[in-house]
């Protein structure tokens, strides 16, 4: 589930148990996949992801982060909403609305750590923790502001 983001329902193929139900005679021809259930609205770029009509075959609705070992944890109290992490994330897993950072999409984040690397605050607003670490435990371990070395 995405941190700090009102729960988007899990509708991915694995959650639906599709791989146990769909036989070779039912899969799409040539693995062609329609990312939207209804005919695409041509201005889909202007529709927020959570409001788009994603199909069950869209990777947006599937968890593709099963091999993550470390996860970034986001600390709202320090973040300055600079959007650096949003710009740099290679998997569009930083969720930001109206230039306000909301959290991390853990269904897609692979734990590469780029967001932590580019975070400019002191201390950082994003830090890597074991992927199984509870979020409140992680937040309780946040480091203090580093003083400049003289």
């Amino acid at each position: 589930m995405s941190q700090n983001v009102p729960g988007t329902p899990k509708r991915g193929l694995r959650e639906l148990g599709a791989e146990e139900k769909v036989g070779w005679d039912e899969v799409t021809q040539g693995v062609a996949i329609n990312p939207f259930t209804s005919p695409t609205t041509e201005n889909v770029a202007h529709v927020r992801p959570e409001e788009r009509d994603y199909s069950d075959f869209n990777s947006y609705t599937a968890t593709v982060a099963s091999w993550r070992v470390l996860k970034p944890v986001y600390n709202r109290d320090i973040c300055i909403d600079c959007q650096n992490c949003w710009v740099w994330c290679p998997d569009t897993s930083i969720i930001s609305r109206d230039k306000q950072m909301l959290g991390i999409d853990y269904d897609h984040c692979k734990g590469c750590g780029v967001c932590v690397e580019v975070c400019p605050t002191n201390p950082k607003s994003l830090l890597m923790f074991d992927t199984n670490e509870e979020l409140d435990v992680a937040l309780s371990q946040w480091p203090e502001k580093k003083k400049k070395e003289k």
Binding site: W24, N34, T40, E42
Partner: protein, 413 residues
């Protein structure tokens, strides 16, 4: 609007030019190609048709055959009618993308002018490139002369594009023997050719912006197997569409094609199974042996290499008095029996008469295959038939210099 290209009812064309005319008449939208001997004139001619206004299409110059097939795959996914040509090393470089095109169920036509694979480097015709594509999921049609190369290139489009098939198609012809040999060809006029081929109906095309589609998805152990099973079934089921298309072509032209061609097989005791231009040579040998020595010889020639016509091979053997068959493979098999031998044997094993079958590796690198060689092979089959068992190694190299070379004998006590 393309200019009219004047063609006569009877032309003298070589295999390459005949195929290029078929591509023009099918109004191919995109040809992405990296020319290679001996298939170069096919794409060179298409390029000239584009440049001179005889076709509304795109000729895409690319930096390699891998890029050529990649561009063709992209153009096909976009919704265009697509074709290209290659041979040998170029074919080998395309192989990775061949699997992508068939797995993505994208119809297109690859005209392959068969040429030996290096090393040693060789530009002449053998079937090692054709065999390299045999597991790639493409339909493989085999032309034995220039007329057939033209006819099959036209048939390839409606076969592959049929909504029940949706698979890419290769049209093979032998390097130089067919591709560069000018012969009488009876072409169709443009209108009737295009009417036969028909308009291309794209499926899931990426240029339809009203309906987004993802092509080239990744599937792991949870989905991959199902997709490959569906693809294999489509390929096996394409036999029906191939038969229907050949029937429609016969109605239009009078020229009949079958997934397995047979010659003098009804009463044949011995036969050669071969592909490509060797078929005609084998027919001559069988005719001469019948006249000269009274040996009832025939020829079996798979017209469709994939999907392999196990059904028709089985029926042919079941309904003939065949006792011994020589299967000719024009490709170095690399530590096994020849591929054609294996397929024929699999089909023959399901028959009640189960003829004796031997394998000949011949004609590598364009080594000439003569009527005399074919007669010698057929006479050897007659000796097996008379003895009631195989009297030689099961696999032999035919036409190679040096001591006799053969492998694997029947175990006899």
């Amino acid at each position: 609007m393309a200019q009219k290209f004047e063609i006569n009812d009877v032309e003298v064309w070589d295999g390459n030019y005949a195929v290029s005319q078929a591509l023009r008449q099918a109004q191919v939208d995109v040809v992405a190609a990296y020319p290679i001997t001996p298939s170069t004139p096919i794409v060179e001619s298409y390029g000239s048709y584009v440049a001179n206004g005889y076709i509304d299409g795109e000729f895409v110059m690319v930096e390699s055959e891998h890029a050529a097939m990649s561009a063709c795959t992209g153009a096909a996914a976009s919704g265009g009618r697509v074709a290209t040509a290659t041979s040998s090393q170029g074919f080998a470089l395309m192989v990775e993308v061949l699997y992508q095109a068939s797995g993505m169920r994208l119809p297109m036509v690859l005209t392959v002018v068969n040429r030996a694979l290096a090393s040693p480097l060789n530009v002449r015709g053998d079937h090692s490139d054709m065999y390299l594509g045999r597991d790639s999921g493409w339909i493989q049609l085999d032309a034995f002369d220039a007329q057939e190369a033209y006819d099959l290139a036209l048939c390839a489009f409606p076969i592959g594009e049929h909504l029940d098939v949706r698979l890419p198609v290769m049209v093979h012809q032998d390097g130089f023997t067919t591709s560069h040999k000018a012969q009488k060809v009876l072409p169709l006029q443009d209108e009737e050719a295009y009417k036969f081929v028909g308009d291309y109906v794209p499926v899931d095309e990426m240029l339809d912006f009203t309906r987004a589609v993802t092509h080239g998805a990744q599937t792991e152990e949870d989905w991959h197997f199902e997709h490959k099973a569906k693809q294999h079934k489509a390929l096996m089921d394409s036999r029906k569409v191939i038969d229907e298309t050949f029937a429609r072509f016969k109605a239009l032209t009078g020229r009949e094609y079958k997934r397995v061609e047979t010659y003098m097989i009804e009463d044949a005791e011995v036969a050669i199974v071969a592909l490509g231009s060797s078929v005609e040579t084998s027919i001559l040998a069988a005719q001469q042996l019948r006249e000269e020595e009274g040996i009832k010889a025939g020829v079996i020639a798979p017209r469709v290499f994939r999907p392999f016509p196990y059904d028709l091979i089985r029926d042919t053997i079941d309904t003939s008095p065949l006792k011994a068959i020589a299967v000719l493979d024009k490709s170095s098999p690399g530590g096994a029996m020849g591929a054609l031998f294996n397929e024929i044997s699999a089909a023959a094993y399901t028959t009640s008469n189960r003829p004796l079958i031997t394998n000949f590796i011949y004609g590598l690198g364009g080594r000439d295959y003569s009527v005399e060689e074919a007669k010698r092979i057929l006479k050897e089959q007659k000796a097996h038939a008379d003895a009631g068992h195989i009297t030689t190694p099961i696999q032999q190299f035919s036409g190679v210099r040096g001591p006799k070379l053969g492998f694997f004998e029947t175990k006899r006590s």
